[in-house]
């Protein structure tokens, strides 16, 4: 709790903490907040621009917020499809309307959403993609993957790294040498190259849950070696402490000494390393998905949503497709700021930002 108090003293860290808290809350309640489900798609409305929301009506008077539907037309002069507002009918924005059914928090079946429009209306806050899917809704569902994949990878990396580094450092000698050479060899391969190769050899035809789990494992395979090396270095010095010697004399098993007496000493380093490495996993996942090797369609992730944005026509005419990139940026920035502050708190020696 002391840490959280200190985080709140720093104004950057406070802002970052609040942003991340909001992001996680939003993705937790994504089904409720998103006006459409993750599988919703309106094929007639591919690449519709964001709906404009009006609060002042055509007579210049204040009105409840409303929007117009778009009509897609092919303009033979411009040789392209254009979207025009259908000004004939207003659709008012409603709070808690009934729409597609879902399970609130995965438990309670309901069909109430946070907001929506009257029947027959369409509301695309951030436009639609090539399949006519609502970008805003997909951002929320994609966030579920992009914002959790990093954390899950950490929970694979850290036990492996701790155990590997712990055993290597404690046993020493030839075991240590062999284990460290192996770790160095995996570090010598350019990490992104290894990442795409591992992702590419995943068999096709997996369910999305399986694929997600394997992506987590792959991300973990990239990061463990560097971490294990640092842990080993720490273990080397900790194992010379008197209390470890005492434990050894009392006849405790090697594994017990490593797990119960040595590794707990590395906690503050582990916490620092964890918060500082979340962003790199978020970036790695989005990079993989961006290349089409990570999370696959129809599942959304910020990376694979951004894949569409690299086509020239989309860059020029459909800037709303860039929003996932902005979200990745905001999430990573917040994690970086928070990580720096946590490091400053736990390790007063390294004050990078002050």
């Amino acid at each position: 709790m002391e840490i959280i108090k200190k985080i709140f003293k720093d104004k950057f860290a406070r802002a970052a903490f609040i942003i991340l808290a909001v992001l996680y809350l939003v993705i937790l309640f994504a089904d409720f907040i998103a006006p459409y489900s993750s599988s919703y798609s309106n094929r007639d409305m591919a690449y519709a621009p964001p709906s404009k929301i009006y609060t002042i009506d055509e007579n210049g008077k204040f009105s409840l917020p409303y929007t117009y539907n778009y009509i897609r037309k092919y303009d033979s002069n411009l040789m392209q499809t254009v979207f025009k507002q259908d000004r004939s009918k207003k659709y008012y924005i409603k709070i808690f309307p009934k729409a597609e059914k879902y399970k609130f928090l995965g438990l309670i079946p309901t069909s109430r959403h946070l907001f929506g429009v009257e029947k027959g209306g369409q509301i695309y806050l951030l436009g639609t993609d090539i399949n006519g899917r609502d970008v805003f809704s997909r951002l929320l569902f994609g966030g579920r993957i992009s914002m959790t994949v990093g954390f899950l990878a950490l929970f694979v990396v850290f036990p492996i790294g701790l155990l590997y580094g712990g055993i290597s450092g404690y046993l020493g000698g030839i075991v240590d040498t062999l284990m460290m050479r192996f770790a160095e060899a995996t570090m010598a391969i350019p990490s992104f190259y290894l990442l795409i190769i591992l992702a590419a050899i995943l068999p096709s035809g997996m369910t999305s849950v399986q694929r997600f789990a394997l992506i987590v494992v792959i991300l973990a395979l990239i990061g463990w070696a560097g971490f294990a090396r640092v842990v080993r270095g720490m273990v080397l010095s900790i194992k010379e402490e008197d209390y470890v010697q005492a434990e050894r004399v009392m006849g405790a098993s090697k594994l017990r000494i490593i797990l119960k007496h040595i590794l707990p000493q590395t906690t503050s380093y582990v916490i620092i390393a964890m918060t500082l490495s979340v962003p790199s996993y978020i970036l790695a996942e989005s990079g993989l998905s961006f290349l089409g090797l990570g999370i696959q369609q129809p599942d959304a992730s910020w990376g694979n949503m951004l894949k569409e944005a690299q086509e020239f026509t989309n860059i020029l005419y459909r800037p709303w497709l860039l929003t996932p990139g902005a979200l990745i940026f905001i999430a990573v920035l917040s994690f970086n700021l928070l990580g720096d502050t946590i490091r400053d708190i736990l390790d007063p020696k390294s004050e990078v930002r002050r």
Binding site: T186, L194, I197, L322
Partner: protein, 324 residues
């Protein structure tokens, strides 16, 4: 002083590392459920004879350790086999590696020229407006995904039309005079270099600032100040040399990071480098090409680290006396 001895020893140390790397990558790729010759089989321009030759060369009908030994033998001899399109892998690599090296060298050069002075300046002018501005800038640079930044630059290029939107050379490159060839290259390089430069600059600048702050806080700098030396002398003669040393170690890491970061940037800009080559190879599950470019990437990375170590030895007398 045993300079040559040190370098030879380092190079000898590299060999087992390379063997281990090749073992790891070989087994990852071969144990995957991918048929290494699938593409070759489907390609009508590849004759049955070539196919049989490849099977023989790779020993696909023999157990995996035999396959590894024969692969390693031909790799050492420089025979890397054929891509699934039927080209020689070595030719393909020869074409792509210089491009990636060109890109990364320019970026590293620029980041050092700009990043080190900026880091020093930010540390000396700690907590001024300038320093705050740099902190904000570097936070942004460290958080922006390279491919997203690349897309934004592409958007800029398409909108303004000032820069070509991909590749390394224009279609009529071969007919140009030397001067316009150079200009053409520069024009194509501006965007990818900008992306990678901005991203690695922020890390380098921040690290340099931290090192400098630490050194400025040390006793010998305080002593130098107490002696009445001018601030200029304190910073450039006493502090700088000690603050730069850790940066040289980072040079190796930076190179590694650039190789990875460049892959995505190359992909977005359609830049014909090693990163894009390996990506294309992976997408087509072209095993020969993947294996060869993976090894080349690793060798480049190890060489980068080696150069950093040698530089460090040249600048830091403590290491010289320790290791030789």
């Amino acid at each position: 002083m045993g300079f040559a001895k040190y370098i030879t020893r380092r190079i000898i140390q590299v060999i087992p590392l390379l063997i281990l790397v090749s073992l790891i990558s070989f087994f990852i790729i071969r144990l995957s459920p991918i048929d290494p010759l699938a593409e070759l089989r489907l390609n009508p321009s590849i004759s049955e004879e070539t196919l049989q030759k490849e099977i023989k060369r790779l020993n696909l009908d023999k157990p995996i350790y035999v396959q590894y030994v024969s692969w390693a033998k031909s790799f050492v001899k420089g025979d890397l086999g054929y891509t699934s399109a039927g080209e020689k892998v070595s030719v393909k690599l020869k074409e792509r590696i210089p491009n990636t090296l060109l890109l990364t060298t320019i970026v590293i050069f620029l980041t050092w020229i700009v990043g080190i002075p900026l880091g020093i300046f930010a540390a000396v002018k700690k907590e001024t407006v300038f320093d705050r501005f740099l902190t904000v800038f570097s936070s942004i640079g460290m958080a922006i995904p390279s491919f997203f930044f690349a897309i934004l630059m592409l958007m800029f290029a398409v909108k303004t039309g000032w820069f070509p939107v991909g590749g390394l050379t224009s279609y009529n490159f071969n007919e140009m005079s030397f001067g316009s060839k150079f200009l053409d290259l520069v024009k194509h390089l501006v965007l990818p270099v900008t992306v990678l430069f901005a991203i690695s600059l922020s890390g380098l600048q921040r690290q340099m600032r931290a090192n400098m702050l630490e050194v400025l806080d040390s006793d010998y700098v305080k002593f130098a100040r107490a002696k009445g030396l001018s601030e200029f002398k304190v910073i450039f003669k006493h502090a700088l040399r000690n603050a730069v040393n850790p940066m040289i170690t980072l040079l190796g890491f930076e190179f590694a990071g650039l190789l990875s970061g460049a892959a995505l940037t190359e992909y977005v800009f359609q830049y014909p480098g090693l990163g894009r080559l390996i990506l294309e190879a992976v997408m087509k599950s072209d095993i020969n090409l993947v294996m060869a470019s993976l090894m080349m990437g690793t060798i480049m990375l190890i060489l980068g680290n080696l150069i950093a170590d040698i530089l460090l030895m040249l600048t830091d007398p403590r290491i010289r006396s320790n290791k030789t």
